[in-house]
């Protein structure tokens, strides 16, 4: 689980195969929790479950491969994208109604030809905003895990090396 070259554990075919099988299903379940149901709620939980799939992948295949799947630059992009999605939908309500509606007043969005205001509200709350929250939470939790697990390659002292030798087995 640390950032040394190579792996400090043996490759295990069973664990790797099961991880490869499990990760897509965990991610689909996370998306279901995020956007699958009508009504508000579920963005945070779905994001955490999505991050759990990345953590599972990282624990199985090592931190360098896990970082390759979710690079550090993506982290910064994804968590600001989620924030902008949430705040942007709110601002869109003000801008598109020319200042008549309040911030996050979804019924003011000009979708009345396609669907009723109640449906617009439900779509915005349960899909767009939840995806924004979920993206932010997913990237932040994965980032916290990587930062806690990854031992920097810069300064290495005796205590650190002694520490991870004891954890290895």
């Amino acid at each position: 689980m640390n950032g040394k070259k190579g792996k400090i554990w043996e490759e295990n075919v069973i664990i790797e195969t099961i991880t490869r099988l499990m990760v897509p299903f965990i991610q689909i379940y996370a998306l279901y929790v995020m956007v699958g149901t009508e009504g508000a709620g579920g963005g945070f939980q779905g994001g955490v479950v999505f991050a759990a799939s990345i953590v599972l992948f990282t624990v199985t295949f090592g931190i360098s491969k896990g970082r390759k799947r979710l690079p550090e630059s993506w982290n910064a992009a994804l968590n600001s994208l989620g924030l902008y999605l949430y705040a942007g939908v709110g601002l869109l309500c003000i801008v598109l109604s020319l200042g008549a509606a309040q911030y996050l007043n979804y019924a003011a969005l000009p979708l009345s030809q396609i669907m009723s205001p109640a449906h617009t509200r439900a779509l915005m709350i349960s899909d767009v905003v939840e995806v924004g929250i979920g993206l932010t939470v997913m990237s932040i939790f994965a980032s916290i895990f990587f930062d806690l697990a990854w031992k920097g390659e810069g300064k290495k002292n005796k205590d650190k090396n002694k520490g991870d030798k004891e954890v290895q087995e």
């Binding site: 945070f44 930062d147 806690l148 002292n157 205590d159």
Partner: protein
Amino acid sequence: MIDWSFGGGIFIAKYNYWISILLMLIGFYAMIAKGNLLKKVIGLNIFQTAIILFFVSLGDATLGSWGKGVTEPIVKGALPWAAGGIVEHGVVYANPLPHVLMLTAIVVGAATTAVALALIIRMYEEYGTIEEEEIIEKERELGV
């Protein structure tokens, strides 16, 4: 149905509160008496879940009864407060307000734990140990 309010009802019918206080004391003991810093964080987590258990017990409308006609606060159709109160068609809903408060508490707890773990890792890099007494001893040697 057993009448739990009879006699020492506060001891028997409200057993959730006593368990919650017991867990709180276990977590508090770990935070104070254990020397290992990671153990202290584990105690912090137990303390936090004990408080959440207390609040969820407050929201459960039927603590001490056998749970007849009680459901989760998920409503199909008309909103229950339109009829005045949380009782409609003979169904009692659990109070959802403490649940929402405790969702925020769980999220904040996760963030607190992550910060505490980062500080523990930093202290281990500095002192080479995560035992409280050894850290104090090393600080005394260094004359801090």
